[in-house]
Symmetry: D2
Subunit: 511 residues, 4 copies
């Protein structure tokens, strides 16, 4: 059984210290049908750990960007653990995300935790306000401990869901959504499974949360709790990625991005204990929707990270065009402009959402939900088009190029170097490396994060459309049109008042 | 000859006062081959004056949005005359622009002046700093006088250009660009013509500025000056708009938007005098490019106004769908969401540019140029798609509907009301009005502002692509890609340093 | 009462003869609240008549393209009256449509009639086959008479529809759909109204048809009949178009396209008689859907005409770029290529539908319905983008240019010619003409046909999506995927057999 | 040395016979740094052989589609070896291509050979006509022998190109383009390398051809010849594909498409002999451009195959939506319609090109080049969007799903089956298979063919834009616009005559 207080472990202050902190844990991780002895040493897993480590190293190199002084401990900690106290804080999250995207070319796996912490800050506060519970102070205690350790926290939200047309309590198998299986005096036990959990194995703690709006009969599904990732009863099944095995071939060219990758796994909970102190929701089904909405509002704007990954791909496209000797063609330049235009649109709509942030009751700042959804909706399309354009500039060789093993063969290697060279003076191997990087980001391991996760993470395209639809203030806009068209109106201010209530700070007033 | 000091006229504080201030001026305006006696009373011109008047009325209704306390006069004046002292000021410009777009459904014609004033604040300062001139204090004196009057100022930039492949001094006819034709002790005389001048006839003063980068031989084209719009030697030729004559038919339905429209005219200068006090550039050709760049940086983001016009069109589309009885069809709702997604993208990228503003040397804040260009580039496409979608929801009747005259005929009017009704309970006339509003905004008078001007105002699409291309920091991005691809680099920090110099505040640092 | 046989009038063999044939008819046409004395002489109507006249003149100049030898009369007649006897006939319809689009730059108004005749050929045959009626021979008699006269026939399909959520018989007012109001021994009387009837006033005869699938209780709405357009009881209310009054200003520049335009009107039927001989459906409600589907299958592919109009707009964009002196810029050339790519996509998908035609039971060839819908669906978008690109190349002057009246004023005319000139050697007036043509096609009169009608004619975008959805053979395609994925299947050949039945000739067989 | 006559081997009549025909050849193929002993038995190569085999099997099952009676041998042979004698032949190529795309979900590798044979038929004829050579009869002899064997022929066109800004003879290394290194009485020797050669290892013979327009100094690069793929002096280096090693893991689920894949390799020629009888161009540099243009005209339309692959992906998307339990959501159906609309646009523009074919001088039919380029240009974009939409319907599990090895573990397998199930009644394994198929087609092995090859095969996007630009008849279209705008013209029929000369049969005539 896990202890009900968090042991005072040493504060993690660098990528190296972080990596060391992961060694020797008692994790049950399955990969290719086998238990992984030490994830840290597994060549397919290690690059995903490196990406998280970079979040610590960036905080050392650029502390104003990637660190803050914790108001809870007065010590410098990662910005990923910080509760936003201003719109500046929201914006700096985005700038840090873009930078980390640039430095890793992949998903660095810490945004879910960051956005979950910020969501819980306000939601626990509002739950307590309504019900007289003490979740918020529990949460602050937990957060203080995390700040002390400067730990990595992941957020576990997406359930496996079973039959999507049924709510949790109507599922044939109650485990289709994570739920409380048992209450004791000291805490609760949970069961179920969470799908595609980003960076879970690379975290120290995880925050379990409900994945959708719940009703009265779904009470035991309304659970939020924090638990160490190596808690008893947890099993991880590692997700395959495109080209994942190239990391296990021993080379460093064909992988494309030798150092960094993302990570997703399925997490199975079999009667896992969470002590009361770490339970932040227990049956308040009527707050599930609010928590999900807060979280997605933050998280859909966190996809600004993809503009950082996009920077890498734009750079790769520009580099390969140069290596191919065609950098000056007007259509090449125009495609780079187009890629930039798309990439900056992601960035612009994302930071606009942050800039338009406003305080919630707990003091934690929330970003503009309309623009957050607009941003994420672009993210479901634009990286695909940026990816396509990068392949356009790369040329077909990207998918017909021989393996790096060929380079090592004296005869074949010489032939390849002779025939695959591009612009004079550029080593053929450099050209091959650049092509493999583009392959990595558009078809290979990091295409998972740059493309498919951009599509589905934080909600699939349709979920953004639903949210945009809810917030688009049609009654107000119809009124504008009717005034200009010269149509007389019975006053519908009441309708408008309802429409405007609560959704977002940027509502338009009725004249 | 105009006086070299500005007479102390009464401060304008309302739309009505503004309209009165225009009466009885000695303007030479040609329209349909004839001199217009009093523009104010011309049915085709009046709606454009109403749109400017609304900028005053909004300042009364929402002073925090559309007015400021002038730091020069300590009186409340229009935000359009204010020099931005913070990013908040930049952002509030955008919010005011969106609101005015919503309230008028057209171009309210004051952004060019606003953006010109802000550009000149920093550029005159930097000219003086380099050359020891006193343009900045002249400019401040002028600005103070304008604040006192709370006047409308337009900005005259776009020359007619003649052969676009030649610089001004190589043109066969020197008048293809406005230039100084004569210097006297008291001031200068200018000649030439400016094309498509927005709201010029509705302004009190205009600011003449060069339209492009100039060379040493173009010295006399490097001229900036302020002059009253009724200065001797100025002729206006009014521009036709689609469906403009409907305003002269006497009805109020077929016009679509009975109250508001935009205005553009050609302005001919024939030896027009500007006293020294109102000259803010006289030969400093090397600052022409900076002025143009500053101006377009502000102005490309000012196209956020189109998101306000877009709000009207989204409202009109929602209203007509309801009147047609199809508001609940899923494809209808989806199209409204799509229109909103596009519209908010314009808004989001625009305000992001403003939020990311930074101070220039004079203290005046400038917005982020990359995002400003990204915003305007979307504006060259998205209103067209929003317009198309609004026509989709309108139905074909929008372009086959009989004239409002038919409604007045007892027999035909009855037939029309019988056959053109949509959803029960909606008066047929209301449905016709809404269709005419959509026609007005997508084919008629206000399509000029919402579509074609969105395409070409503040620079045609290619000019944004050129600017985006200049600022896209490819060397920095190539470096990111090479690091991740495992390519060894000779250090190219020097190249990067050059790339990063000066362009914008948001540059990425080299790790 | 109209005669029950068609009088033997002279065969029309030229545009001039056609125009003369229209004079002196007893039509009741309302426009701007007044009865039009002679449509032929009305400056706003005449250009639409000219467009129809060009269909005759083209038949003289290029008989193989625009004429055929009638198999019914053995004389040369317009291809618009011909029943397709081969895929070549279908394809030649498209080639003639493109050519006429090129020659008129607008809608020449005869395709509805052509597609209605072809649809009725097979549907009357199949009705007779099932019910033992004699509609097909009646139809052939009527068609023979039309061939003899070489007349213009329009097709009247779109009802005004009232509450769109209700079928005809449930409408509060029975007149919302055209229906039989009375039966006599000699024929039937119809009442109701048809909306946006293309070219109705310029036709000799019209074919009234139901607009949608009908049920048993809609029997009296299941009516098809031919009647002269000047039949007693018919009233026309002329539809306004953007900038329509420019045709009445007396000039020839501001109109953009001085000679040609489209025409749409509302048609009101008040107890209009149709003799039995000209009734081709009377109560066969179960064939209404088939008729509509046949008609839209032909007609959605007839929108190939827009590629001809597009050719004009591409030419205008290329010409104005040249006149502006920028024809050689790479981005200009690229935009012309893009316009062509889009335009040829419309053409390509349209003629592919024709080429894949197949015979119906009556011998009349029908085009491929999937590709017909694919073609029309592109037409709802691509002309808008081509239009936008043409405005991009035109420049802002298109919407700020003074009126042609200004050119006539000695002083102002001289100023305009000086300042509005572009590339050396090009008369300013030519440049103005080209700008007005682009305005005409993208905002003015012919934008109605090129844009909004492209969106809604032959069914709005959603109607094509519904048809594409019906024909996309998902069961067959799921089977393909399952085979390749290695999924075992219970045999679902029965399901497939149903899916494949009847829809179109190009179905994929089950292996 | 290869014999100068082709030995009479047994005619290949089935997939099985084809596979057997490949065994035991003396090919030098490198893969992962090692010589492949027998390509046929290599698990990574075999699926690409299966795809070719399906071309034989389809010819057995649907002979009218995939076979013809050879006019040279009067025996039934593969349509891939047939010279088109009609537009029907061109269209049937497309229908066969779509069907094979449906059946294999990948590239079946025979179109290059087919299009090369058809191009050479007319080009050899026209060379002989001009120069009195006898290439055409040599070619016919060769073709007859191929018909007799019913062999697989690949076409080798794309050179490695070196510095792309230089013509072949100016390259530092002459081997950057394949060229004649030596002439003997009996024939020629060639050296150089061809990049990304589709299906080369799976062919019996290859046709070597120049890759671009050549000048007088490039004479020795103007070479066309046929040679057995196992000729002495040829080395193959196998190209890697995304996820290629999954074929070597031993399972059958994670591969996605267990049976079929594409193949590309680099081919190195080191003094390879071609006897005179098989040389079809030797120095006629002025015919290189014509050959390339003919070939790309055929080949860009051959990308209709991707609509067949698209059918599989649409089917997979529909199947996974059903398995996820969301098939009835309106946005799901709409996305399937959108995918179909795009897919049929590829098909429609491709077959339109074929239908508009016309005979060349040799009697061989050539397809319409404008529409061929329009088709291919869509292929460079639409499959990416179809792919994105398929991922949208798939859901994120596609990229986070555990490996098939997990399924075999008793405990983990049971957990997976419990938690990864979708709609009731669908085996979890089936759902996993369908997800892996979509991964295979959008990120994995077959994404190479469906996406990147769609982008670059038969010329990258810019090459189509150049061709479209050349054929767009701007002079003709400008003339149309000028006529309608009322601009007087000096007659420019001469210019037009030049523009119209030769390019394509579908030119518009001057009125």
């Amino acid at each position: 059984m896990v202890p009900n207080t968090i042991p005072d472990t040493k504060k993690i202050t660098s990528g190296e210290a972080y990596i060391n902190s992961l060694r020797g844990r008692n994790l049950r991780v399955y990969l290719f049908g086998e238990l992984v002895e030490e994830p840290l040493d597994h060549p397919m897993i290690r690059p995903s750990i490196n990406a998280v480590a970079e979040t610590y190293d960036l905080a050392l190199r650029e502390p104003e960007l990637a660190a803050v002084i914790s108001p809870l401990t007065n010590e410098r900690i990662s910005r990923f653990l910080h509760i936003c106290e201003s719109t500046d804080d929201l914006v700096l999250q985005n700038k840090m995300q873009r930078k980390l995207g640039q430095n890793t070319g992949t998903c660095f796996q810490r945004c879910v935790g960051m956005d979950a912490l910020n969501s819980l800050h306000s939601v626990t506060f509002e739950m307590d306000e309504k019900n007289g519970t003490d979740y918020h102070s529990r949460f602050l205690d937990f957060l203080t401990a995390m700040h002390r350790q400067n730990a990595v926290i992941s957020g576990a939200m997406t359930d496996v869901k079973g039959d999507r047309s049924l709510p949790p309590h109507q599922q044939e198998d109650p485990d289709m959504f994570v739920h409380i299986s048992r209450w004791t005096e000291k805490g609760i036990f949970i069961s179920g499974a969470k799908a595609h959990q980003t960076g879970c194995i690379n975290s120290h703690w995880m925050l379990v949360m409900p994945t959708m709006r719940l009703g009265e009969k779904d009470k035991e599904y309304a659970v939020v709790g924090a638990l160490p990732v190596d808690s008893q009863g947890i099993t991880y099944i590692y997700g395959r990625q495109s080209c994942d095995k190239r990391s296990m071939e021993g080379g460093n060219l064909d992988v494309g991005n030798v150092k960094f990758s993302g990570q997703e796994a399925m997490v199975i909970f079999e009667d896992v204990f969470i002590p009361k102190e770490h339970v932040f929701m227990d049956g308040e089904y009527d707050f599930a929707a609010l928590l999900v909405e807060r979280f997605t509002t933050y998280h859909r704007r966190s996809y600004v990270c993809k503009s950082g990954v996009g920077d890498v791909l734009i750079g790769a496209a520009a580099a390969i065009a140069e290596m191919n000797g065609v950098a000056k063609a007007s259509h090449i330049k125009d495609k780079l402009v187009q890629m930039t235009h798309l990439n900056e649109t992601i960035y612009g709509t994302g930071i606009a959402s942050s800039f338009q942030g406003f305080p919630t009751k707990s003091g934690c700042y929330l970003c503009d939900p309309m623009l957050s959804n607009v941003c994420k909706h672009h993210v479901t399309k634009m990286p695909y088009e940026i990816g396509r354009l990068s392949q356009d500039l790369a040329g077909g060789l990207m998918v017909t190029m021989p393996s790096e093993k060929e380079l090592e063969d004296p005869k074949i290697g010489t032939i390849l170097k002779k025939y695959l060279r591009g612009k004079a003076g550029i080593p053929t191997e450099d050209r091959m490396r650049m092509l493999r990087l583009i392959e990595n980001m558009t078809l290979g391991r990091n295409a998972v994060g740059y493309l498919t996760e951009s599509l589905h993470g934080a909600g699939s395209p349709q979920s953004q459309r639903i949210q945009i639809g809810r917030m688009m203030q049609l009654e107000y806009k119809k009124r504008l049109a009717k005034i200009l068209a010269g149509i007389e109106m019975k006053d519908n201010k009441d309708v408008l008042a309802i429409e405007l209530a609560g959704y977002f700070s940027r509502v338009f007033k009725i004249n």
